[in-house]
Symmetry: D2
Subunit: 334 residues, 4 copies
């Protein structure tokens, strides 16, 4: 492939525009086409990116002349379709998580990707956050020895709209999956899970068959133990804390405060992140940069198809454990 790549950006919503701003600064990426059913949004992105054309239909943008790679930031339920189309057209694919909410569809689409041999990266951006990147480096360098315990907390500032939650696949598939990927990234494969959930934030979440407060225990294949705690609401903001403990030490990733300003008045006080796109701004930039670097160097980008699939399997195991009130082994999720 060449030094720079013709790109179609599918989706010009909040995340699409974030990727647009990042793409501006990636010299390997020349965005040629932008697509969004909201043509005004598509045009705004096109103008910012000085792209050749804005389309209302992603599949058309994908076929724009010169497009070699797609960045998919459309609504979740459309991911599978565009991944498949892009793979069949031989394009390199960067797609926001998830591929799909069901295991069957995910597997089917990723098989197309693998069969066509196109580069594929899933948007688990946290792997590219400088703190998590450095944690990974240190773990691999043996700084904390074999990992023995893992704790991840993620709480959103407020629940997404109920209409979204209805089709989200449930809290494990929708929210916990970032922590699950993080667990796989930093510790290894999950062997079994035990999940408990509760409806504490909003009873309507219970009425649609979901929970909003969870405690997910993990047993890893390498013998480590872990826990993921999620909540759909935290009044103080977006709460992401991860702790990895090993025989020689531990690493803690916790970005508090957001602003390095301490106020001394009633004691001492600082602020907190409220928005995941603020917290992981640099990660979003770095993941896309890494995708294009991988393309340029002819390496498979990462996290790839297996990461997309395996994180979903753990999330589905957790969902099953919650329903059945028992430990679920990953090998049951097929």
């Amino acid at each position: 492939m060449a030094e720079s790549f013709g790109v179609a950006l599918l989706g010009a919503g909040r995340m699409g525009m974030e990727h647009a701003r990042t793409l501006l600064g990636i010299v390997e990426a020349r965005v040629l086409a932008v697509a969004d059913p909201n043509l005004e949004a598509a045009e705004a992105a096109r103008s910012l990116l000085r792209a050749e054309r804005a389309y209302p239909e992603p599949l058309e943008a994908l076929g724009h002349p010169g497009v070699e790679a797609v960045v998919i930031a459309t609504p979740t339920e459309t991911h599978a379709r565009y991944i498949q189309a892009a793979a069949e057209a031989g394009k390199a694919i960067f797609c926001e998580k998830p591929v799909a909410k069901e295991l069957g569809e995910t597997r089917r689409v990723l098989e197309v990707v693998e069969h066509k041999g196109v580069p594929f990266q899933i948007g688990f951006q946290r792997r590219y956050d400088p703190a998590y990147l450095e944690a990974k480096r240190r773990i691999e360098a043996g700084e904390i020895g074999p990992v023995e315990q893992f704790i991840a907390v993620m709480r959103d500032p407020a629940p997404a709209p109920l209409d979204y939650l209805k089709t989200s696949g449930g809290i494990f598939v929708d929210q916990a999956i970032h922590d699950i990927d993080c667990a796989r990234y930093l510790v290894g494969e999950v062997e079994a899970v035990h999940a408990w959930g509760a409806v504490r934030v909003d009873p309507r979440i219970g009425e649609i068959g979901d929970v909003d407060t969870t405690n997910l225990s993990l047993r890893f294949a390498n013998g480590a133990l872990g826990v993921i705690q999620n909540s759909r609401r935290a009044v103080y903001g977006y709460d992401v804390r991860t702790e990895v403990f090993g025989a020689k030490g531990k690493l803690v990733m916790d970005a508090t405060p957001k602003t390095p300003l301490w106020r001394y008045g009633q004691g001492v006080q600082a602020d907190h992140y409220h928005f995941f796109m603020d917290r992981f701004k640099e990660a979003y930039r770095l993941e896309l940069t890494a995708f294009f670097q991988a393309l340029r160097e002819g390496r498979p980008p990462s996290p790839g198809p297996k990461d997309a699939l395996e994180a979903l399997r753990v999330a589905l195991a957790a969902t099953q454990s919650l329903k059945e009130g028992r430990v679920v082994r990953l090998e049951e999720v097929v």
Copy 2:
């Protein structure tokens, strides 16, 4: 009762001496007798405390003229015997945890205590740590709203000697019980548990039928969810962190560093607690002070018999869950 109380200190080992130094500063306590089979230790404590007599036999010290209260800091397996003797003799009792490792014996001894109506306090010192005390106050004041999630981590710097571990009752009864009491104190009664354990620190711990690395999930009667993670070893020291999350905020208790000195060289660096008696020095002082205040004011001291019993029941439920690989409801532990 009078303004000050005649006291017998049973046990002049490490913890006994810590209590001795505290007793020096408590005006309500006049230590009259000290007992330790190691008569030299007993005599050292007697001298420091300017007590009347040192005994090799705790039961004799208990009978020393004028003794109205006992502070029991003898080896674990002797607690039940001395509690029972003291209760039968009508003395007020402060005893290091646990009463006993078995539910039956614990219940039997505490029934004597209740029947005799003597004041009884169990040494869950963490309740008196200023951070935990203040957390309790804030939770009761409604500052974080109804509690929804709980996370407790406690890791010892290194495993106790194997001979001790053999008779310790297992990691949940011996170590996790402090976090369990903390969970009951800050959140409420536990309804069900799910435990996983692993042998990661020392294979000999596995050989004696115990584990050294655990992940204990808690479901509380009030609907909250929680987790306790323990390890028998942390190279960086004694690691105690507790997080209580509610509808209106969260509280985190984490005393790092030990010394408020930051070194800037390779990045920024500070130290860490290595010893539980350092971390909870003030708590040990305050719990004993509170015991004698309660005596003086004629109030039942706290934590009391029920706290001793219920924490043990949760620990035993965890032990059972670990063995049977399933969720255990507290009502099963009778």
Copy 3:
């Protein structure tokens, strides 16, 4: 003026490229021309910015058709010339600090700016750092009451090359000036200074008549007292800490660590910023964004000519105080 502005970027070195990346994302800025004597660098910036033309000579770029604003990031000694040329040509001006190292030349050039009435912003980027912005907002809102004390520390990781230092105007004009501007921004005008300096880092800095370690006391017109401490070297990195103390509280700006990752091993450890462009990355982005917003809204940008001049006067007063070993009042610096 229109909604977007034709821009010439003068200088495509390290800071010029940083501004180039920022300009990419500012919709009000269309970079038409780039200039750098190093034509390869100029061409790289032009390509990234999709600008119309790269020039070796800044004055030519300034005359490129459609250019309405200039961003000056050329070597310090050329600032005055390009500011003057841009002002005379009626362009809006953003210029890296300083205008010039001498008071006379600074005053002369800024008089042209004022006379021509062109918008002018000096690159005291720290005013746009989120922590300092928020501190300013809180001070103006009265949160800490009247300011009474000020402390600023800035230490560079290592001295600049000796050839640079020779022409830098001395440590107060070159380095302290950022803290001086910060003092004026957060506290108010300086009335008198007392400076001490020492050569502790590199004797060659003494040989060229400068110092590398300073302690600058400030008395403000409003009665507050302050201190600025600078060093040309800090082994742990770029050290910037500012504390503003008032009748109702204090604010501390201190961005440590850089990466929100804590390693527990030998105590607890985190990293530190090593590079001012990392520490103030967001500030550099925000200052340029603010410049173009001001242009669009027809407001004078800030910090403006007076800020450039007054900070220099304080730095020159400090230089004089150091030489003469006495308190220097600002009114002496004319």
Copy 4:
């Protein structure tokens, strides 16, 4: 000398009682006599300490049979008299700072101490705070290389009563002296000072000829530069922060928060020390312990007569600099 020492405690006020509680736990100290004009207070201390007798008159307590050492915690203006009497009687002396407010009297009394050869320790307790102790150790071990800069901040929560301030000797002699001793301890001898002061907290402080807000620049004999900032009031509490910067790194002593409890609600929040006896509780305990250890081992205790004298000289130089508006060299203060 013997293994334990007969002690007279002079003064049973707030600080005297603090020392009383410490003395209880020091096996080398047997308090025989307590003195306080407030006989009730004296009796309370006597009872706590199980001492032989309470006196209204310190000089009588000093003569109590068996007394070998005195702990002086009487009002400042009486220190000199009791030090002199104790020295003449051959007693070892621990005395709260200062010896006296005037240089002449201080010198005169300390000459008696030296002439009599009695052990003498002055109550600069901060030297025994674990953070400062460890900082000293690290500096001496060369961890931060030669010291180049020093910053000390100390702000009291609120001014002492005006009647006290009137006779306090001024802010440098009364308050800054702790930071001055700290500077001498961690950096070395002071060669020259430049002081600025302002009345910002309470105009009545100005009316009695003192200031309440200061900025004191220090030049050390070894070439380092430093600053001490003091204020008589900080709404958030007792503010003590010290920074020592050297060629190989820096050390920061800053004990915030007091309680290791973080509340997440409106951002993140913790408390602050409000009382110097809380912040330095351990230091008060350790300084007295060290005094008796020195007695037992026959070593001169530290900080000693020279430390008492030299800190006063720096404080007087600062006072003179403030009045005369110029740099004052220490050699001028004789």
